[in-house]
Symmetry: C2
Subunit: 257 residues, 2 copies
């Protein structure tokens, strides 16, 4: 499969997780996620100081929470391996998945404003994160301009991402939502060296539905429809995109609302 040519080698989501014990020092400076996670163009001495920000790393087993709504906010987390969902809950028990995060992405920004997290972060597979104490980040970004800018961009990117989700939730039909979701996932996976056409969903239909503002049955039906139309192959959580242009067409179809 030529399009699984890895730009970044060896981003294993699972296999080697249990080998890398916490004692092995993995610095940002030699992390293969560096270009996703950290600013480029740091000098060696700056990079050394950034290494020190990553105080510890932490493993999160599948199903466990990295943090919960109400937890004290201390640190941002950079995902090294694994896959997360974030979700918020209303008082009445309803909840809404607000995002799915994968290796190289930063999680925990919601906690800054009130010093407490306002959502839950749940590992959808065994995961490992770098713990980056936020006061250290602030300290260092006062000294390293490019780090400061980088932190601002990460937060702005999240705002823009959520804008896109609002568009999806506010004005797209079920097919468009699912098509946009698949294209987004596969694009982010591709940036991490995975295939452009094949992916394994780490979340259930219900979690997809929660994210997309749909019921799980609707998600399932919509998958089936895509299969009938020959746009994708679906076997449980394994998805192969046969006709990416077909998906893109669906996203921009504007059949109605």
């Amino acid at each position: 499969m030529s399009d699984s040519s890895k730009k970044l080698t060896c981003i294993n989501t699972n296999v080697f997780t249990h080998m890398s014990s916490t004692s092995i020092k993995v610095a940002c400076s030699n992390c293969n996620l560096r270009e996703l996670c950290m600013p480029l163009g740091l000098s060696d001495s700056e990079m050394e100081r950034v290494d020190e920000v990553v105080a510890t790393r932490r493993k999160v087993a599948r199903g466990d929470n990295l943090f919960r709504n109400g937890d004290k906010f201390n640190a941002l987390f950079a995902i090294r391996t694994g896959f997360f969902k974030t979700r918020i809950s209303a008082e009445d028990g309803r909840d809404q998945v607000t995002g799915f995060q994968m290796a190289g992405e930063i999680i925990g920004l919601d906690g800054i404003v009130s010093d407490h997290h306002t959502c839950d972060a749940v590992a959808l597979e065994d995961a490992e994160v770098c713990v980056m104490p936020f006061d250290r980040i602030e300290e260092l970004s006062r000294e390293i301009t490019s780090l400061q800018r980088h932190v601002h961009k990460i937060m702005s990117r999240e705002i823009v991402r959520e804008n896109g989700v609002m568009l999806l939730l506010g004005s797209m039909r079920a097919e468009e939502r699912l098509a946009a979701f698949l294209l987004n996932l596969v694009q982010r996976l591709h940036a991490r060296g995975f295939s452009q056409s094949e992916l394994v969903l780490r979340m259930t239909r219900e979690e997809i539905g929660s994210y997309l503002g749909l019921k799980l049955e609707t998600v399932s039906r919509t998958f089936s429809k895509f299969v009938e139309e020959g746009i994708v192959e679906v076997k449980q959580r394994h998805v192969r995109i046969l006709n990416p242009d077909g998906l893109k067409l669906i996203v921009n179809s504007q059949t109605c609302q």
Copy 2:
């Protein structure tokens, strides 16, 4: 009306806009929006430096854009007077209102990540904003720790706000959405010294609908339903909330979806 007791005096949204010419120097240090907009507890000398960040002010007439999707990003804007909406547009022409902003709120955070704005900001009434060049903000927040923290909080607050909108769009029914919208508006207006029970909508039914993921007819019908139930009085854009607890009950009703 006792609950229109002004905490901040004279936040006029319209009347005096044309009087305050740009030549009058209005510094943050004596701005009555300070506590909404700027960090508290700055020393006098720090406050002086913050004053210098606000390079210029800019008037935006009703219907005009403060910035557009694609515009180069240079500055954040603090709203002094007036009322804005932000919206994003898909290629196919669909658009989605992503927020309504009022005096004391910061607008333009979307532009940081890519150096270009990704949404439009439109004045819904004649408005005036403080232009805060972003590189000046970054410069100063490297020196004034509390300003740095404040900037981070503003961005985090926007992320959390959007999380809430995602919950609304993803899992609430029309009545719940409109009730939540009204409560949110009136709460923010109250923080600015206005009534807890009365408000004037600055946007059309269509704009409300776009924000809430509903069609304008649905918004109108839902208003009518609230009126029938004696929860609000509605006369065009004038809304009086007769039974705020009724609204809160609706938000948490979870009838279905």
